[in-house]
Amino acid sequence: MPATPSHVPQPSRTDPALIRNFCIIAHIDHGKSTLADRMLQLTGVVDQRQMRAQYLDRMDIERERGITIKSQAVRLPWAPTDGDGPGTTHVLNMIDTPGHVDFTYEVSRSLAACEGTVLLVDAAQGIEAQTLANLYLALENDLTIIPVLNKIDLPAAQPEKYAAELAHIIGCDASDVLKVSAKTGVGVPELLNEVVRQVPPPVGDADAPARAMIFDSVYDSYRGVVTYVKVVDGHLSKRERIQMMSTGAAHELLEIGVSSPEMTVSDGLGVGEVGYLITGVKDVRQSKVGDTVTRLHKGATDPLSGYKEPLPMVFSGLYPLDGSDYPELREALDKLQLNDAALVYEPETSAALGFGFRVGFLGLLHLDVVRERLEREFGLDLIATAPNVVYRVIMEDGSEHVVTNPSEFPTGKISEVYEPMVRSTVLAPSEFVGAIMELCQNRRGTLLGMDYLSEDRVELRYTLPLAEIVFDFFDQLKSKTRGYASLDYEPTGEQTSELVKVDILLHGDKVDAFSAILHKDKAYAYGVRMAGKLRELIPRQQFEVPIQAAIGSRVIARETVRAIRKDVLAKCYGGDISRKRKLLEKQKEGKKRMKMVGNVEVPQEAFIAALSTDDSDAKAKK
């Protein structure tokens, strides 16, 4: 049991030379939470008993809530134990980073609040693509990297192999890679010592006007928005008026403090310190990640660099299964938006699906998280249209359309269509290189490079249209590599492509929910597949229903749902009447759930099934 350090520097009056701001970069399941827990215990901010009773509980909620509730930033006192006698007590600020591929920008801001990072890798698994991508971000931010292998207690651990791999990636010596077991605590004090020794203290001008960078912003239903900042220059004090530099909006500083790990009020925050602000705003979009906070009076004139507005990359139409849930859906989106500055939406009407919203997301994962929260936390049953990206269409007359919904793709003479591109990184065992290349080629990818991280692990870099990634790419990648591949991507601008809109017509009526923008070489396959799928899904009607896939007026695929000829129960005698009436009531309930496309009754299940990706089996196995 380590001694709790004495003479702990107090917030607002901490010498920057004693501060170490660091984060932990790790793949999900590589043990970040366990390591963080161990650090909390070792530094004495949470005692053994509370550890179980409180902190892990909170972590459970975190896991439940996914991306939103995070430990953000915890202030840990630590006196290094490796020198002669007790060392000076330092302040370690452990800053959390969102672990998701879609939140690269937010990760980059978290990293920008740090001077060093612990690169935590599972000693039985090796590094994963998202970790690698975040490592590159950390390197771009000039952070000191402390490579650490976790789970060395596992029988399957191969610390020597993965130490060599890490050394190769960051260009250090394999012997520099620390080996810990967050579970047993082995090596964790040494790791804290290394953080103090290796991570440089923050540097700032204490006399300059205050500048603090927002690296996270969280909505709390009791306290409003809690904003996490790192003070770069100057000092923020309680009860002063502050200003958000991107918007100029001024707020009263109702509370300022640090997390250790409970929120603890302080007099203020000084250079290099990390803590939280509460201003009473109710919406995270008024306190945006990356923005600079300064004083309202005699404030800074230049904001810190690196601020970007979040830009939605992927769009999907979200519709309540039950049309009467539309107000609930709106309310739920409003609530989610309080805590998600990147979520945008506007009402949309679909002839096929009724009233809903076109919702913009940072990426596929963001979409999944939002959709799952809407369904789980708000109890909504939703239909989501196939995700699409944003297209820029230049007409021959020079006019420009930005298309976020395929059914709004312009008709008429089109000169050029631009689609967003991403630079993607795939890490996988080398035996799967062929399969991955085939998949990426098939998805219009261009190989940028390939590196062996170790003898049997490869990093492949591709430029791919984002549209190809949003359509079941990850599922395909997983199934082609037996789950071993990991993927990361980041936007790299746009390019012109030969894209067309494919419409699906039922009995001559366009089904807006099924319109898709595709590369011309893939239009035919899509048309054939959708028409075939719908033929199976649409129940026979009293008339023949042609299903067509068309580009403009040119039909590229056609199927027919034959007219139903018999829909009558042969027998209806005394004992059948109750049953028959009840069946009729049930059928009428079912009829209510039918959506009308022109004259064609389409069951909702057909929309859901048609909108789901083909590889539902692969998905179920995940």
């Binding site: 009293q542 042969a570 005394g574 004992g575 049953r579 009436r581």
Partner: protein, 410 residues
């Protein structure tokens, strides 16, 4: 009678009806259905409430057997008499169904009829029908029935083709049902029906034509033709699921129905309900019409359903439990439902639309009336009848009757 009972509220021990059930009863005919839950063998397609054991026991040890079954039925008829109180109506129709009613001795059947006659009285022109299995009757048996007061007999012919009968597990030899018609005529039965089944796996259009020809050739005044329904829980359903027997496509059923309509019409039979054809209005089955027109009937026997003035109830299914209840002077009713006005309206739509007389358009609410106009324009309802204020199915409409009902009840 399907073997699955609906959910409902309990039936009082004395089988008493709510007061309103008998209001206006004088204007409605009253019928009796008697269920005989015994069969020599179980047919693979059948999901009716029937048992091959000749003796079954109730939980209290009461024996329900073929031999004492007539007495058990008599007990329920006497209970009916009490429940209907001073209802003065004589019985207009009696229908004995099963199971295989003709597994009982003719004397048993006529004895039960005698109890009805004694307790309620039979209308002078009452229609008294029994279903009969062609293998279980002979001229003597038929003559006994006729002498006992039966005047209509319905034979389960199903098909004229041996390989079709085999799939259905029917044991009679081809030709026997036709002979039965002659024997029934000889015994003095005026009304004879043959039941046919179409769409049995393995049946061809030609097989079906042959069955229709054989049936009309025998000269009954009534033919019923039913599409084979593969009911869940039957041996046939298991064989289809295992892939031993191919399921029959709905389009095939539609084609066979059209063949039936064609052959029967050509032979002088006119449809008067979706699955029923008769040579003249007088040859229609009045008992079934009573079901279709919301009249009153008491269904006696295990699992039998009854309806009196908007109260519908059904008996316990098991013959042992049924006999046990009656032995303890309790109603064998398992559950009942009190129909709301809207329930009764819906039932009228779904039943009367199946009849050649159709239903009056004023029974429909505005959305239903609009649907009826559309159906008339789409060729599902007869335009002339529609113009005259009735919804009457066309031939194509008969095949899509359930879909039309779904639109019309709105």
């Amino acid at each position: 009678m399907p073997s699955v009972l609906p959910d409902g509220e309990p039936v009082p021990d004395d089988g008493a009806l709510p007061g309103h059930a008998l209001a206006g009863a004088a204007g409605r005919p009253l019928g009796f259905y008697l269920h005989v839950p015994y069969c020599a063998t179980r047919c693979g397609y059948c999901d009716f409430n029937t048992y091959t054991a000749s003796e079954l026991r109730g939980s209290g040890g009461v024996l329900a057997s073929r031999d004492n079954y007539a007495d058990t039925l008599a007990q329920e008829i006497r209970l009916a008499r009490k429940a209907l109180g001073d209802d003065p109506r004589p019985v207009e129709t009696v229908f004995v169904g099963g199971g295989t009613p003709t597994l009982l001795a003719a004397a048993d059947l006529t004895r039960v009829l005698g109890v009805i006659r004694a307790e309620f009285g039979l209308a002078p022109d009452a229609e008294v029908t029994t279903e009969a299995n062609p293998e279980t009757v002979d001229p003597r048996y038929l003559a006994d029935l006729r002498a006992g007061g039966f005047n209509r007999v319905s034979f389960g012919m199903q098909s004229a083709r041996p390989h079709v009968l085999r799939v259905l597990d029917r044991t009679h030899t081809p030709g026997r049902p036709q002979a039965c018609v002659a024997e029934a005529h000889a015994a003095g039965f005026e009304h004879v029906n043959l039941d046919l089944i179409y769409g049995t796996p393995g049946e061809s259009d030609d097989d079906w034509r042959a069955s229709l020809e054989a049936a009309v050739g025998a000269g009954p005044d009534h033919v019923s033709a039913y599409a084979l329904i593969v009911e869940e829980g039957t041996q046939l359903a298991r064989r289809v699921r295992r892939g031993e027997i191919p399921p029959t496509d709905d389009d095939v059923h539609a084609d066979r129905y059209l063949l039936a309509e064609q052959a029967l019409t050509a032979a002088g039979y006119g449809w008067y309900e979706v699955s029923n054809w008769a040579t003249a209005p007088a040859a229609r089955c009045r008992h079934n019409e009573l079901y279709w027109r919301g009249a009153d009937w008491w269904g006696a026997g295990p699992g039998a359903h009854s309806h009196v003035g908007g109260v519908r109830w059904w008996n316990v299914k098991h013959p042992g439990a049924y006999a046990q209840a009656l032995a303890e002077s309790r109603s064998p009713g398992a559950g009942r439902e009190l129909l709301t006005d809207e329930d009764r309206r819906v039932e009228r739509v779904l039943l009367e639309l199946r009849l050649s007389d159709g239903l009056p358009l004023d029974l429909l609410r505005p959305p239903g009336a609009r649907a009826a106009a559309r159906a008339a324009a789409d060729g599902l309802l007869d335009p002339a009848a529609h113009a005259a204020g009735r919804a009457v199915l066309t031939l194509r409409g008969r095949l899509l009757a359930d879909a039309v009902v779904r639109d019309l009840v709105d």
